[in-house]
């Protein structure tokens, strides 16, 4: 259904190409503020794609995905401020923290499916949030950790303006997107989609469905960690709000709004939410209402997400 989509030049592909071109060439001509927003879009785009591996491709709806994102961000925050570690140590530390945690949590959550999966991931996400809030000597509690050095400065690029960091983020984004695309088209990725469609049948065909689900969870956690590292460097601080349930559910909305099982869709979803939120809130205090209406309209007319418009179920 989704897996064997033939690639011909469709209007959609053209649109994606235009978006990519825009992300690549437009920033030098935009104001610093818009470049900042685009940086948020590409970083949250990585995060949304990583959740898409779970929701869209494996059929595992996770409501605790912001947890890995946040833990990786805290890894960078703690290592680079409290321990004054170098950049690569901080990045590696953040990545390992998020990924190993996913490997650990995966052992717990990979035995259940559907709504039970939703509930357990949500509970684990709340545990992580509680930890970030209460483990004060390490996380600074509610105040978070600020003063993370700028990434451009650390690798010797000029720290002037938001452009250098944007292109670093864009590069990381492109690499992650490529890796995830390869992943979902590999035999492993096809098996995941088979599990999503009919797990008992895959099992009777001899696939170890538990292991596939588990590995998909760990991969999603690893990509979320990369996004978390970038987010920590982008903002220069970390706080418990990164791991909140609202963060996880907003992420869920990015994926469902954009279109699960497409990778591109979640990026569009992330972009739409970030831009709409920031642009609308500048003009009206009722922007939450408008965002709500957009969600409802999408659910009614495009239940498969924006990117899946026009595709037959």
């Amino acid at each position: 259904m989704v897996a064997l989509r033939a690639f011909v030049i469709t209007p959609k592909l053209l649109l994606a190409g235009l978006c990519a071109l825009f992300l690549l060439v437009a920033p030098p001509f935009l104001s610093a503020y818009w470049v900042g927003l685009l940086t948020q879009v590409v970083i949250l785009g990585i995060l949304a794609m990583s959740l898409d591996l779970l929701i869209g491709y494996t059929g595992l709806p996770s409501l605790g995905h912001a947890g890995f994102f946040g833990v990786a961000a805290y890894g960078v925050g703690v290592l680079s401020t409290t321990y004054h570690a170098g950049m690569w140590t901080s990045i590696a530390g953040g990545f390992l923290a998020g990924t190993l945690l996913a490997a650990l949590f995966g052992l717990i959550v990979s035995h259940v499916r559907d709504v039970y999966f939703l509930m357990i991931t949500m509970a684990l996400g709340m545990v992580l949030w509680g930890l970030s809030f209460r483990w004060i000597p390490v996380t600074g509690g509610d105040n978070g950790i600020s003063g993370i050095p700028r990434l451009e400065g650390l690798i010797g690029l000029p720290a002037s303006g938001p452009i250098p960091f944007y292109y670093i983020a864009l590069l990381v984004f492109a690499a992650c997107m490529l890796l995830m695309t390869l992943l979902v088209r590999s035999p492993f990725g096809l098996t995941l989609q088979g599990i999503r469609e009919h797990e008992p049948r895959m099992r009777s065909l001899g696939f170890n469905t538990w292991l596939h689900g588990y590995l998909s969870y760990v991969c999603a956690g690893a990509f979320a960690s990369i996004a978390g590292i970038m987010w920590a460097y982008y903002n220069g601080f970390v706080s418990p709000t990164y791991l909140e349930l609202t963060a996880s559910s907003e992420l869920f909305l990015m994926v469902t709004l954009g279109g699960p099982a497409t990778l591109v869709g979640p990026v569009i979803g992330a972009g739409a939410i970030v831009i709409l939120k920031n642009v609308m809130s500048a003009y009206t205090a009722r922007w939450l209402l408008i965002l709500g209406i957009i969600y409802i309209v999408t659910i009614l007319w495009a239940p498969q997400g924006l990117w899946n418009l026009g595709k037959r179920r």
């Binding site: 709000t241 642009v279 003009y283 026009g310």
Partner: protein, 407 residues
């Protein structure tokens, strides 16, 4: 069906494009002074944020949106009480709207998140409410001045007062479990214990607390007083349950100023009567300046001003005084931030105030008792500690070499 979907996409993109076109039209030939302002205007802290904004709007109306011979443009943003959102909004205000000066923020976490950015952009900023001690102590920024208070500031005074004047010898604290709670209780504990008082137990409640029963059950009935540091819904719930548990009338209730602040007081009943708290403001403060402020606030917004409302009335007055002091030449940011630290406007609702060299106010701390006057609850001022510094009567250098108050 297909065309409908296409319409939907088109509509969405049109919306985004239209918004960005409007967004691109900035700047007028005769430039007014642009003030960027942000508080939470949605979510659980929206009401406090609204109060802060109300105070500011009221002051700007009083001066006709003019200062230093220039018009004032106020640009308001909602920081949603989320630090990362606050930072994004600050970037928007500074980099896109090109504001000359910033004001606002409610939560300590947002205050800490903004500070490095504000410092790196060299934009003067006024924090009217954020009370995290270290913002004007160990982690202060030369670009940020605080016209509110630091969390431990009134509590240093209160610790001594409770021991000496109320004759309390043993206390149990019930406080919200985050930085604001730790710093308030820490300040109170320090001076109360130094006097010879005994702090029997510190009970920490999560900020999402719904039921105080498990915490109230822990309070020994033979303590002299219970110190409560709560705000918003948690304060209302606590007061009700304090009475239901039979503690009211048996154990004196004292606490931080927010517990009985006017943002919750009108929603309380007789259960709040007699509670003694300390803060740098009370809507019932009996001075001509405050009476006038409270009266016009009440007329305009149909409610009693809370300390949040007063915070940005005074903060606004401070900011405008600084702008006037440099004749509206706000483009000179260094001059503006110097003026912010130097000016000393008179006639503030809260009474006399000046800034110390760390950018924190030296101001009166009022001891208030909840009373019913003309059918309404109010925080009657029963004692005043004049000119209280954030360091109380300790030596600043030594104070700063010690760690910040924690759990």
């Amino acid at each position: 069906m297909e065309s409908r979907k296409a319409t939907l996409i088109a509509a969405l993109f049109a919306l985004i494009c239209a918004a960005s076109v409007i967004a691109a039209q900035t700047g007028t030939p005769q430039t007014p002074i642009k003030i960027g302002f942000m508080v939470p205007l949605s979510g659980g802290n929206a009401q406090n944020g609204r109060d802060i904004l109300n105070g500011f709007l009221m002051y700007l109306d009083e001066i006709g949106y003019k200062a230093g011979g220039r018009k004032i443009d106020l640009i308001v943003e909602d920081d949603e009480a989320i630090p990362a959102v606050g930072l994004t909004k600050a970037r928007k205000l500074i980099e896109r709207d090109e504001v000359h000066v910033m004001a606002g923020a409610l939560l300590s976490s947002t205050g800490y998140a903004l500070a490095p950015y504000i410092t790196s952009m060299k934009i003067p900023m006024v924090y009217p409410v954020v009370s995290a001690d270290d913002l004007t102590q160990r982690r202060r920024s030369e670009w940020i001045v605080r016209t509110g208070w630091s969390g431990s500031q009134p509590n240093h005074a209160f610790g001594e007062y409770v021991y000496q004047k109320l004759g309390v010898r043993s206390v149990v604290t019930v406080a919200l479990d985050y930085a604001f709670g730790w710093e308030s209780v820490g300040g109170f504990e320090r001076t109360f214990v130094a006097q010879g008082g005994q702090l029997r137990q510190k009970i920490w409640v999560p900020i999402s607390v719904h039921d105080f029963a498990p915490y109230l059950a822990q309070i020994p009935r033979d303590v002299d007083a219970v110190y409560a540091l709560l705000l918003g819904r948690s304060a209302l719930q606590f007061m009700r349950q304090y009475q239901e548990f039979g503690l009211k009338g048996r154990v004196q209730l004292i606490g931080g100023g927010t517990t009985t602040d006017e943002h919750v007081l009108p929603f309380m009943g007789d259960e709040a009567l007699g509670a003694v708290t300390a803060l740098h403001y009370s809507a019932a403060l009996d001075t001509p300046e405050n009476k006038q402020f409270a009266e016009s606030y009440r007329t305009r917004y149909k409610k009693v001003p809370s300390y949040y409302s007063e915070s940005m009335y005074t903060g606004g007055k401070w900011l405008i005084a600084a702008i006037n002091a440099i004749d509206g030449r706000v483009e000179d940011r260094q001059a503006l931030v110097d003026a912010l630290r130097r000016v000393k406007p008179e006639g503030l609702p809260r009474g006399p105030m000046e800034l110390d060299e760390y950018g924190n106010p030296i101001e009166n701390v009022y001891i208030r008792r909840v009373e019913r006057v003309n059918g309404q609850l109010q925080n009657t001022v029963i004692d005043t500690f004049p000119r209280v510094s954030q360091f109380w009567n300790f030596d600043p250098a030594r104070y700063l070499s010690e760690p910040l108050y924690a759990r």
